[in-house]
Structures are given as structure tokens and as C-alpha cells.
Amino acid sequence: MAELLRVATAGSVDDGKSTLIGRLLYDTKSLFSDQLAAVERTSRERGDGYVDLALLTDGLRAEREQGITIDVAYRYFATPRRSFILADTPGHVQYTRNMVTGASTADLALLLVDARKGVVEQTRRHAFLASLLRVPHLVLCVNKMDLVDFDRDVFEKVKEEFRHFAAKLEIVDVTTIPVSALGGDNVVSRSPSTPWYDGSSLLHHLEELHFASDRNLIDVRFPVQWVVRPRSEDLPDYRGYAGQIAGGVLKPGDDVIVLPSGLTTRVAGIDTYDGPVDEAFPPMSVTVRLEDDLDVSRGDMIARPNNQPTVGQDLNLMVSWMVDAPLRRRARIGVKHTTRSVRAMVTEVCYRVDIDTLHRDETVETLGLNDIGRIALRTTSPLCYDPYRRNRGTGSVLLIDESSGATLGAGMVL
């Protein structure tokens, strides 16, 4: 059976991203003839002179009218080997929040550059955000190779330029591919126009990428989401803790500690509708039974006694701020972390990162819309967390407006 790979892509109107996505969808038979016909019709009516594949994803009225992409669009395509979820985000400056959103769940970030222009400000910004969100793999497509006569030197120059910049970031795995989205070169199959390129086509790379080991299979983390108590005639005393494994491999018989209370017990069994399992690992949703009758409820974290997350009330976060009203010191906000919601106060705004130069501005006192920066928080009750670099699930938080309920920003534990 196929696996599932989540890809985030970002780019501006001119770099050929829509054409590339359209080609991936069409060549994997994930784009249907009525969708293509509708796009052709609309392009003709607008007098575009070409088939604008952005119309495939730009579904909202305002987007089509203004010819812009407003929001993250999700696209689906599949090959016999893998299924893909593509989070497609617009490339405008003001939409950092969308890129952060798309990257938060991605296994791979797909960036495009125009071979004639090379690495531009937007490329650096996208690479920085992918690195910030710790997307484990990055593919840089050097597009429009047809317009530079498939010149190897042009490709190598762009590749080197990007490598130089990426060295400053924490991106583990970078692959660079010369493509022409328009002509389909190196998109689905290797192109005869680039005999000097000995790597994979884009689709082949996406199909073959090894990403199973990106998950943390070492630190057992099980945030309790829901307590299952049937209280039925045949199961009067059943008590199970339902949740999704956020890290590690949990087995029946394992010694465990329930946090923040610190009580210890053992795993009696791990249940699913399809029968008990011998091992549970991310991202399985399971129900865990414990040997002792402890007071465990939603928001608690189950871990191993010899490998525990930090339990504390003071968090240092890198934050992506997503609303107009600025983030200030002493602001009172809501925090959602795994299955636990608490209140918190911002104790410090440390610095803002200039996402073009990576320079830290320590003179700022607030963070504004689309700013990335470091803050310190104190929560009203303890959270059980890990550094984001160690675990994306137990190292991430949502910042929430207590009165309106709006999501204000996203935070990653340092």
C-alpha cells in the first residue's frame, strides 16, 4: 500500500509554480478533463492568451477576479507508490502566515526559482521559513531551463548560490533539480535536454524520498486526548486513554509516567477498533490502558520515566505572528499545546528576525503581522514540552486571543 507524503510549495506568480503543479497533477492523472476545460474556458474569457493553471487552485471568487491567490490551497495527487498532499501557498510578502501554515505539516518543501533570475529575496524567505518550521527535506527546482538553453553553468551557479545561503540555515537535505515546467523537462521523467544532470526527475525524487525516519521514534510522548469509558454491561470497568502518539514507540508492559502528576504505572494494553496492537508509534491514534487506576485526564502526557519532556511554566518560543494587533510584553493570551489549553503572559519580546537578512533586531518591543521573533512566556499551569527541533508535535503551540478566540500566532519551543 502507498505511503503519504506532505509537500508544501510556495512561489510567486511568475516563477512557473502553477504550471509545475498543473503538470504534476495532469501527468499523474490527478487533474480531470472537466477541470482542465473549465480553466481553459476561463483563461479564454479573460483573454489571457495562455492557459492559466493557477485557476485550478484559485477557487475563491475574489481570487479569480483579482488574479491573486489568497489562501493555502490543498491539492491531491497519487502514483502507485505514494499519495501526495500538496499545500500550495501564495508567494506575496504579506502571506508569511500562509507559508508557515503550509510548512507546519510538510515533510518536504518545494521551492522554485527562475533560472534567469537565480536566488531572489523570496527564495531566501521561503527557505528560511521551511527551515524555521523544520521541514526535513527541501527541493529547489531551477525552472525555465528552456529559456537558458539548458545551460549547465547557469544551473550550477544557481545551485551554488542557494547552497551558500542554505548553509546559514538548518536544512538537512537539499536537492536541486533543473526543470522546465512548461516543457515537462525533468518533472515526471528525465529530460534528454539535460544529459549533464544525473539526478532524479522531480516526481521520481518525491516517490523515492526516504522520510519514515523523520519522525521521532525515540522519545515516547502520548498526550491524552479523551478518556474512553463505555460503562456498558459487557465493559463496566473499561477505562482507556485515547490519543495520537506524538513520539517514540509505546508497547504493552512499558513502565510509564503520567505528567504533570508524576505518578508511575505500566501499560496494560494498547487498543484499536481493529484489535490490540503490540506497538504504537507516530502518528497512530490509539487507546492506552494502564495497569493502575490513576487519575488521568485530557491534557496529561504519558512518557517513559527515564525519558521525560520538560515540565514547566516558562517557555522560550520562536513565534510567527499572524494578526494586525501587535504582540507586546505583558499581553495575556491563551496557549494551546498538544491537548492542553492554558493561559499565559508574555514576559519578554526578545528580538525580531529580519527574514531577508536573518539579522536579529533586539531593539523591537513588539511583533507585528507576519513578523517572526523570539518571545518568552509564563503559563498559569505547567506544560509538558520538548524543543521543537526534537519533536514538532510536543514543541509547538498556538497562541490564541482569549476574548475573540482568534488564532494570533504559532510558536515553536526553543
Binding site: L60, I70, A78, W226, M284, R298, L398, T407
Partner: protein, 304 residues
């Protein structure tokens, strides 16, 4: 569940994600309900819900908005499934609302009751004070849906504001809402039509017989194959012919078209779907073909 090398199939990953969503909503909302029409997406959604809370029963009722124009096979299936799960079934009736004079029906030929579902749905949600309603919509169905969140907020009029959606990051869902507001939750957002069929095959799910190939008297209308029923009689000049068909979606009888098919099992449907070149709604739903933004407009008004 066979487990090798700590890897899950894509269906197992989609299922795990959907189970997580069900449990989050059950934990953070007071009065959820699950829209269950007896259609294939809601059947899959219901099975995932069952898995999320097993061995306990569903902690919320099923909800159906009956247009009065449903396929008999589908209604029978709905009742059978609810009884099997011991679940409470809440039905909002469009016919009853028309009979009470609350709604006026468009009786011109070609009109459907699709528009009338929305006020009945909103009234039923308000009457029962539901604060979260699970729906089986998928993002691959339609362009407006491709941009809708898993948690889709609706104001007191049930309206969706596409430009004012909360960003959704990681698997952290923000369910804060004010009294009178509710959310629609789409646990199958990331599933495709093919995934639905694969899951039906994998889980051996029973689905209404009209999803499989059967012979029926049909007419061809605006490029769609329409069954001849008391609600959809042939129009003058239309030739009634028996054909081997199946339905890809089952909505209102009056606006749901069929496709020619010989697929008699889920696996045969999978083979057909994998080879098909037309989207499910594009082929068979007259209600989505009205304009480029038909779905967006209906959703803004409170549609699923």
C-alpha cells in the same frame, strides 16, 4: 493491524488524522452532531467516528437533513445504520418546513431542493443547540472546498467567510467559539474520492445499492444521465432508455446524475475511478454547475 518497520499506509495515516479530529471536537465542544445522509462519504466518516470512540458508543447523535427527495434505498440504509450503532438520529425535514409554510418551493422544471436544505439545517442546528457539526466534505471535491479549513467557522447565520479563516497549523485545532456560533468539521478533508472507495473496500463497508451498477430507466439531459422517477419524469422529446448505471454521489434525486458503469463491487468501482477523467461533482451534480463559484456562494450562505 499488521505493522512493519513503523510505517503506516496512506489510508492508515488519513484514518489516524480523522480519529484525532473526532476526539478533539468531542473533547472541546458541548454538543456535536454528525451529518449522516447514508451517502458514501458520510458512511466512511461514521466508521472512522466509531473507531475513534470504540469500545464506547458515539458521544454524539447523527443528523440528517431530509429534502424529501432522497433515494428510498439511501433512507433505509440510514435508519439501519443508526439502529445498528445504537445512535440517536435527528432528522430535519425540508418537506415539513414547506408544509408549515416556512419555505417556498421552486416548482419550475429543473429546480432542486438543494437551496432549501440550508435554512432547515441552520434551524435544526439552532433548535438542538449543536455547536459542532461533522460533515463528510473533502477538499478534492471542489475548488472552494480546497481552501476550507478542517474547522470551518460559521457565524450566527451559518455563513462561511473564506477570507477570514483561522490559520490551521500542525494538528493543533483552535475550537474557541462564542455562543450562537458553530463550526463545521471536516475530518475527511484530506481524503480523495479514490481514498473513500479504497476505505470502503478495505473495511468492507456496506453502502446503498445505487452506488453499484444497476439497470435503470434514464434520460440524457444537459449531458447528464438522469434517472426517471416520479420526481424526475421525462421531459417532452426526451427518450427513455434502460442503461447500466451507478451513482458517484447521492444527493437530491432531482439534481444527481448517474454514470454508465459495470462496476458491481467496491474494487471494480476503484478500477473505474482510477481510470476516470472527470471529477465526481463535475460529472453528476447539476447544483455545482450553475457557475464557477456555485459552491462558494452556497457555502457562504451556510451550506455544508
Amino acid at each position: 493491524m499488521p505493522v512493519t518497520g513503523y510505517e503506516l499506509t496512506h489510508l492508515q495515516m488519513l484514518e489516524a488524522e480523522a480519529i484525532h479530529i473526532f476526539r478533539e471536537v468531542a473533547a472541546e465542544f458541548e454538543r456535536p452532531a454528525l451529518l449522516f445522509s447514508g451517502g458514501k462519504d458520510s458512511i466512511v466518516m461514521l466508521r472512522v467516528a466509531e473507531k475513534a470512540f470504540w469500545p464506547a458508543r458515539l458521544p454524539f447523535p447523527l443528523l440528517h437533513i431530509d429534502t424529501g427527495h432522497n433515494f428510498d434505498e439511501v433512507l433505509a440504509f440510514r435508519d439501519h445504520r443508526a439502529a445498528e450503532l445504537g445512535a440517536r438520529l435527528v432528522v430535519g425535514s425540508v418537506q415539513a418546513a414547506i408544509d408549515r409554510g416556512e419555505l417556498t418551493e421552486d416548482t419550475r422544471p429543473g429546480a432542486s431542493r438543494n437551496q432549501l436544505q440550508t435554512p432547515v439545517l441552520l434551524d435544526t442546528i439552532a433548535d438542538h443547540r449543536f455547536d459542532a457539526v461533522f460533515g463528510g466534505a473533502r477538499r478534492d471535491e471542489e475548488k472552494a472546498r480546497a481552501k476550507e479549513r478542517v474547522y470551518s467557522f460559521r457565524d450566527e447565520f451559518g455563513q462561511w467567510d473564506p477570507k477570514n479563516q483561522r490559520p490551521e497549523l500542525w494538528s493543533l485545532y483552535n475550537g474557541r467559539h462564542r455562543p450562537g456560533e458553530h463550526i463545521r468539521v471536516f475530518p475527511l478533508s484530506n481524503w480523495t474520492e479514490l481514498d473513500i472507495w479504497r476505505y470502503i473496500a478495505q473495511e468492507r463497508l456496506e453502502i446503498p445499492s445505487i452506488y453499484y451498477a444497476h439497470r435503470r430507466d434514464v434520460v440524457e439531459r444537459d449531458g447528464m444521465i438522469v434517472a426517471v422517477t416520479p420526481l424526475t419524469p421525462p421531459r417532452p422529446g426526451e427518450a427513455v432508455v434502460p442503461r447500466q448505471i451507478r451513482y458517484r454521489t447521492v444527493g437530491d434525486v432531482t439534481c444527481t446524475g448517474a454514470v454508465e458503469s459495470v462496476a458491481a463491487t467496491a474494487l471494480e468501482v476503484i478500477a473505474e475511478v482510477a481510470a476516470t477523467r472527470i471529477t465526481e461533482r463535475g460529472a453528476t451534480r447539476a447544483d455545482d454547475r450553475v457557475s464557477e463559484a456555485a459552491m462558494e456562494d452556497r457555502k457562504r450562505e451556510g451550506y455544508f
